[in-house]
Amino acid sequence: MVSRENTGAVDEKYLIFSVLDKLYALPSKYVGEIVVFNTVYPLPLMPDYVMGIINRYSVPYVLFDTGVLLFKEPAHRGKMLVIKEDIDRIAFLIDDIADITDIMKTHLSEIEQDTESCGIADVISESFKWNNDDVFVLDIGRIINRVTKEAAG
């Protein structure tokens, strides 16, 4: 009998959320908590897609305005998706949570990184279909690369 793991059809849990009425996702293993939008402290010398920092148990987390990051348009101030601290102290501003669902690896379509511009492909890596909608998977590594690239420029 061939196991599902050997066929590459392993399920991974994804948290699906909306930003400016479009759907995005992150592997749920990266998500630490989801909190209602609260006080944000702007800091100097931040790029426009960083709203500032938020206070999570006296630890500063950088809050990305996901709308500005993706479309140069501010997102609704709905909820904040806080990434686990061992990945980085990052949070994303989102409209709301849509679902948590298992997606098979074979159902993911890879998106090639755009090396030329700071476009949407710079921050997403994969997509999948969910309830007849396209869902784009944010890539935290690509987001950090973009930040590094822009800070160096």
Binding site: Y41, L43, S58, V62, D88, T148
Partner: protein
């Protein structure tokens, strides 16, 4: 460790008192991030200009020790580095364990300017006049790195 806390609109900056020679009132206008007084040979570094908030009213100047941290090397009038700041509201004792170093994504965001900041802190700092006494974060400054970075930025034409 003791710090002078200067209040900006959304945050405080903290300058370690160990690096400070004196605190002065500052009444003159400031138009540039870095300016030099050719008479006194003092150099003025405007933090509101560096932080892209030039409308913050400058009220105080912090005269840095000529030899950096510790005892002042010489006592000459002029030829000083002076940090221009909005109101220095108070001095405070903040233990090092209460200061979070800038790590990960914050270092990436600040890039070459990250050396200016030695850390950040939320808790315990209230500013009564703004946002109904809301707690604002404190950015801890390394004065020597700040001066070095601002001179470099000026040289590169970035400020």
């Amino acid at each position: 460790m003791r710090f002078f806390l200067s209040v900006f609109k959304n945050f405080f900056t903290a300058i370690p008192i160990s690096h400070v020679s004196s605190l002065m009132l500052y009444y003159s206008g400031v138009e540039k991030a870095v300016s030099r007084d050719e008479e006194t040979l003092n150099t003025y570094f405007s933090l509101p200009h560096l932080f892209n908030c030039p409308d913050e009213p400058i009220k105080h100047g912090i005269v840095l020790k000529t030899g950096g941290m510790g005892e002042e090397q010489e006592s000459v009038a002029g030829n000083k580095n002076i940090l221009l700041l909005p109101e220095v509201e108070r001095e405070d004792d903040i233990p090092p364990e209460d200061i979070y170093p800038l790590t990960g994504i914050l270092l990436e965001i600040y890039g070459s300017k990250s050396a200016i900041f030695t850390g950040i802190r939320f808790a315990g700092i209230k500013h009564d006049c703004r946002e109904n006494g809301a707690v604002m974060p404190v950015l801890f400054i390394n004065p020597e790195q700040l001066v070095e970075t601002m001179v470099y930025q000026l040289y590169k034409g970035k400020i």
